[in-house]
Amino acid sequence: MNFLACNMDLLGDPSIVAGVLSYSRGFENFLSLVDREVATLFVMLRGNEFGIASLVDTEPGWDFSFRDRPATKGRQFVHRVDIDDYLSRLVSPMLTSCMLIKHKFPATNVVHVMAPPPIHSEEHILKNPEIFGALLLQYGVRPFDLRKKIYEAMYDGLNGRLQALGIRSASAPPDCLTVTGGLDERYAHGCLHGNEAYGRALLGQLEREFLHAPL
């Protein structure tokens, strides 16, 4: 397996304007470094959309109903249609990045690797706040249930649209999760990421599910 990585700023925010996919020269140059004949391409770009949407609570705190999990009474109710609209805007750069990659590598099996699910333990998050420390102190960590709803709603929308483009999505290894479906803190790095153990588990899963997995 080979890896290619870059700073996010290089890629910019690809977008679709009037039906035309527009992207930066930096992104194009980055993709030009990938072997054209590659069989499978795992895309782990971006993924910080979840952090932006989910980690820090707001004042007032909001919530929404998702599947069989109703909005929490006491929090500000937001309609599902507004959540979907918001999350759709949030993941748009991720979607368009994958669209561009699929366009540039039409014969390649493109797999979008989902960000790890939210870390269950609030205590762990507060002990490892990374750059969100001041914000978390001021506003608090969003309740886990809500972070999970945001995660699932976000990827529900994104993965469905990716599937329509022929792009599959790879989720987190089940062994790294708690019974509630959150990221077990033993596999967490900081407040949003998976650690090395998570990475090893994820790689193993990708190899098992997708066999050849360069870049």
Binding site: M8, D9, N48, I52, P60, F77, L135, E196
Partner: protein
């Protein structure tokens, strides 16, 4: 010499009205209090009250909105869901009884009551039919929204420095079981009218005064310095459920409301009457501020009302920069976004957890 000798010109119809250009009339030469840009001004009332809410900022005043929109909503969506139309998303409050009941619910002074109906296209809050016109997907969502709303209403009355309340109607429909008053008759906007459950009432002077006075006294116990500006909507009744001509019913209704505000304001130093009704609906202005339906107030009329409001309640002192300028506060979402971007760049430089 007699009591009328030496009175200022505005005490006389000939000088104060007949010889004046209407827009030059100083309808309110004095007021009990002035409003400052720092004060949080709440708004509620009938449809006319929306004009006041919308125009406070143009006067350099602060419209206090306790129920703000979630950040992700667009401007259009916020408007659709009535965020910012008034201080909280109660929709139009037409009667004093409605205001009283809202405060009672917010402060748990009466048992919680969710009056709703399930229709083909969703669940609807019969006590706030206008704020969610497309309905809720389920009852739980409706109740969640309502509970949060009532919490914000409570916060409004605890924190506001002044409340501008526009009385609109004396007629209302009451739910027999709970005694709750609907803003509109079930079946007109949403729901279904049921003569066995829904009773018509036309509140009289004593009832309206009692309800409004209760509101003033109750809020005074929790927020002793809050002032009230009471006004009567000049917009005529759209329809009457009495057995009289709508024009006659309207006249009676407005007379009751006007008398109530006069009585209340004469006895409470923190209550001031503002004459929007006189400005727009007085026969002496030849109906020049009526829209073509002879019912609603024209934009010109609203403009004059706000001009008089400013003269009456805004001091001549220029607002201090810190109070009149909107604080350029970076939204939480922007802060998080900036943190996430920089965090990801920094994290990339970290080879990762070595555990």
């Amino acid at each position: 010499m007699h009591p009328y000798s030496g009175l200022p010109p505005d005490r006389f119809w000939r000088d104060g009205v007949a010889s004046q250009i209407w827009s030059d009339i100083d309808f309110m030469a004095e007021s009990k209090f002035k409003l400052s840009p720092e004060e949080r001004i709440g708004t509620a009332g009938s449809c006319f009250a929306r004009h006041i809410a919308k125009n406070l900022a143009t006067l350099g005043l602060t419209h206090y909105v306790s129920e703000t929109a979630p950040h992700m909503l667009s401007e259009l969506r916020r408007e659709e869901l009535q965020y910012g139309t008034f201080s909280a998303r109660y929709g139009n409050i037409y009667t004093a009884r409605q205001l009283r009941q809202l405060i009672e619910f917010a402060f748990a002074e009466r048992p919680a009551c969710h009056l709703f109906c399930e229709q083909e296209n969703g669940w609807f809050d019969l006590l706030r039919p206008g704020v969610q016109k497309t309905g809720f997907e389920c009852r739980a969502d409706l109740e969640c929204d309502r509970l949060f709303h009532l919490d914000r209403v409570k916060r409004l009355f605890l924190d506001a420095d002044c409340m501008v309340f526009t009385l609109g109607l004396t007629e209302a429909w009451v739910d027999q079981a709970s005694g709750a008053v609907f803003p509109v008759c079930p079946g007109t906007l949403v729901g279904q009218y049921d003569p066995s459950s829904h009773k018509f009432t036309n509140f009289g002077f004593v009832q309206v005064l009692d309800d409004l006075e209760w509101c003033v006294e109750f809020v005074r116990r929790h927020n002793p310095t809050m002032k009230w500006i009471l006004t009567v909507s000049p917009v005529a009744l759209a329809a009457t459920a009495t057995n009289r001509h709508v024009l006659v019913a309207n006249s009676a209704s407005k007379a009751v409301l006007r008398a109530v505000t006069e009585d209340l304001c004469s006895r409470h130093s923190n209550c001031e009457y503002f004459p929007s009704y006189e400005i727009c609906a007085s026969v002496a202005n030849f109906g020049q501020f009526l829209d073509s339906d002879l019912r609603n107030v024209s934009a010109r009329g609203v403009k004059l009302v706000m001009r008089v409001f400013k003269r009456a309640f805004c001091s001549d002192q220029p607002a201090s920069q810190s109070s009149s300028a909107k604080r350029a506060e970076v939204s939480l979402e922007k802060q998080i976004e900036a943190a996430a971007r920089s965090e990801c760049d920094e994290a990339f430089n970290d080879p990762g957890d070595r555990r």
